[in-house]
Symmetry: C2
């Protein structure tokens, strides 16, 4: 651990892709839904398209093109738009609602529970996700993820990578931005956190979009730490 | 458990007095400080006066007489005002800051850790405190209190018993107010929660202000549950 990381007191975690494996979870829930209803569909393609709709939907809110909406609301609208393309327009309101809440039931990456426990023994830990509070609470309960705090874009009323989200999180934790480290699988998120004065730990998750799938380009930002997973991060931070 | 409580999905906990024993903790920290510095003072009286300054300070913020301030800031101003009366005006800036943070290190009531664990097995649990986020995070870590979520007046920008605090907490949890139950030792807090549509569980803590000390009058509000402590609450809610 380099000298300038000695001031870090809290770790703020991106969630989708960094701590949980949304893609496998959504595919699994889709397959189960298909079996229950006797429907066939390309569930991996649906999962990818659903997730692909997420950034543009948030960007529209950020640009003021529509009022604030939670990720639950955005996920549902993206789903409704996608269903006809996948031959699933017959899904009832209740089935759509239930499928939409699959985002509250995502599975953790294999290292997440143990890695978080080690990291929490030495640092304050918090979520810092664009997911809404209820989604994060349900996710943490379902996957047995323990954080000291649940911070969400919803509480700020802006989505990452708006710098205000990172700065407000540090203020709520009673810390200077430089005492907080964002842990994330996405260079764009980390670059914004760095611009807001936070430290950064990059955890590439090459399987986030499936084996051999797309990965966000690392870009030119230099991160404070790069680790293969949360256990590797605990190792690099010198936590026993 | 009565029928109308079957919809409750989340328990929101008041913290000071309900989950933690602020008075013994502050007295203990004061005594340790006195021993370290060779100072004598009436620590129980200081603890009581410090706490007594809390509601008027919040009321001034609520009335718009001063801009938003965290409980950390209010606690510090009350302390500075009190020190001369207790012969402690010689405390340095660092000692005052350190003593003020005693509110981040309060001890739990003996039933709290076990009671919360049982309650969390059946309900979403969250803090709903006028304490600021950093205070709550430090308190929970220090006393090993596990909640699914840390909600604070600070996140709303208003103090309880402003009804907006209770309503906003329910919205963030993705629930109707009637699906959330406030658990508190203070009838005034509970009455406001009830007015906001929440269910209420009253946990009298007769020792909050010391053995034989002052207790807030129960008033005329009828609460949904009354239990002697958090373990008794788990019993009444039928949690194994």
């Amino acid at each position: 651990m380099t000298d300038e990381l000695h001031d870090v007191r809290a770790l703020a975690f991106d969630i989708f892709g960094t701590v949980v494996d949304w893609r496998s979870s959504i595919i699994r829930e889709g397959q189960a839904l298909g079996q229950r209803l006797g429907l066939e569909a390309d569930w991996p393609a649906l999962a990818d398209a659903w997730r692909a709709g997420y950034r543009p939907a948030m960007a529209e809110v950020a640009a003021g093109g529509r009022p604030w909406a939670t990720i639950d609301v955005l996920h549902r609208q993206i789903l409704d738009d996608l269903l006809p393309r996948f031959g699933l327009e017959s899904l009832s309101e209740g089935e759509r609602d239930q499928f939409n809440r699959a985002w509250h039931r995502l599975s953790a990456w294999p290292d997440s529970v143990a890695g978080l426990a080690r990291l929490r023994s030495a640092f304050v830990t918090t979520t810092l996700s664009n997911g809404n509070v209820a989604l994060l609470v349900n996710l943490n309960r379902g996957a047995d993820l323990r954080f000291d705090c649940v911070l969400s874009a919803e509480l700020v009323g802006r989505f990452k990578p708006d710098l205000e989200v990172y700065r407000t999180a540090a203020r709520w934790l009673g810390l200077a931005p430089s005492q907080v480290m964002l842990v994330a699988a996405h260079p764009r998120d980390l670059a914004a956190a760095q611009q807001a004065g936070l430290k950064t730990a990059y955890i590439p998750r090459p399987d986030e979009h499936g084996p051999g799938g797309w990965m966000e380009a690392p870009g030119t930002t230099r991160f404070d730490l790069v680790a293969p997973d949360l256990i590797g991060l605990a190792d690099q931070l010198g936590i026993a």
